[in-house]
């Protein structure tokens, strides 16, 4: 949906997706190193633009570009959607970064900051293809708790994949925040230093 949320981090930010991002969305979601565990995305930029126009007109979904602050550079995408009231919760996903990006820790941190500090949610969860071990491990390493394994959950057009659901509650957010902030700061100090040199 149309929104104005911009969440600034140390070296990266989340900002609303716009129609101009259609080419970037196609590029990153169809990259051979990234597309394996994603739903099919057409390489047609006009189709992506049409999809974005529909997204902007519907409610209940915050789609962000993950962007490096200096120099300004698009690093990935992420969405918060699937809101519920009791408890106040949402799902985050469609998380994809360009190969080599150092934005993982900070982008996750910014998602949680959005969820808890801006949207005032009580919990946020994510569902990852079980076979996508790097992302499953990332959530484990971040300190999220595994809540469920959902067999045959993801349908990417071939065999169905099991999903692992991780959850982060407001109570546990300070612990995860500390872990992710430590990593994000380390990266930011290096990224900002190299920007200064360049």
């Amino acid at each position: 949906m149309r929104h104005e949320l911009r969440i600034e981090g140390f070296a990266f930010r989340l900002r609303p997706v716009a129609l101009d991002d259609a080419q970037f969305i196609v590029d990153v979601r169809t990259h051979e190193q990234r597309s394996r565990y994603l739903h099919h995305t057409s390489r047609d930029v006009e189709e992506q633009t049409k999809w974005l126009k529909c997204y902007l007109e519907r409610e209940g979904e915050y789609y962000f570009v993950i962007e490096r602050r200096l120099p300004i550079r698009k690093e990935g995408l992420v969405v918060i959607n699937n809101f519920s009231d009791s408890p106040r919760s949402a799902e985050w996903g469609r998380w994809v970064l360009v190969p080599g990006s150092l934005a993982a820790a900070e982008s996750a941190l910014l998602v949680y900051r959005t969820a808890f500090d801006v949207l005032a949610l009580d919990e946020v969860f994510c569902r990852t293809i079980a076979e996508n071990s790097a992302v499953v491990s990332f959530h484990d390493s971040s300190g999220l708790l595994r809540r469920a394994v959902m067999e045959d959950y993801f349908d990417l057009g071939g065999p169905r994949y099991a999903a692992i659901e991780h959850v982060l509650t407001r109570e546990r957010w300070p612990v995860v925040s500390e872990t992710l902030t430590t990593h994000a700061l380390r990266v930011a100090r290096r990224v900002i230093t190299s920007d200064h040199i360049n």
């Binding site: 080599g100 990006s101 150092l102 993982a104 820790a105 071990s133 790097a134 992302v135 499953v136 491990s137 990332f138 390493s141 971040s142 872990t179 992710l180 990593h183 380390r186 990266v187 290096r190 990224v191 190299s194």
Partner: protein, 80 residues
């Protein structure tokens, strides 16, 4: 520092961070190692910087994705 000694010290860091034994003839690639996630990658690279007294470039942080590549980079003395 001899290449073999560098490899041994790099392997020690990998073992500490990834929490498993790594044999001397085992190469590990980020694409194939389940526990080598983005957070572990940062921990690995900064632990290696501390151990060897070096600083990887941002490009190295982004692109070094196997134990052997890291050993070669450090042994070559290209990291500052």
């Amino acid at each position: 520092m001899r290449h073999a000694e560098t490899a041994s010290r790099v392997r020690e860091v990998f073992q500490d961070v990834l929490g498993r034994n790594i044999s001397a003839d085992e190469d590990i690639a980020r694409a194939n190692e389940p526990k080598w996630d983005s957070l572990k990658h940062i921990e690995l690279m900064f632990a290696l910087e501390e151990k060897f007294g070096i600083a990887f470039s941002e490009e190295d942080l982004e692109n070094l994705a196997s134990l052997s590549a890291i050993v070669n980079r450090i042994a070559a003395g290209d990291a500052a």
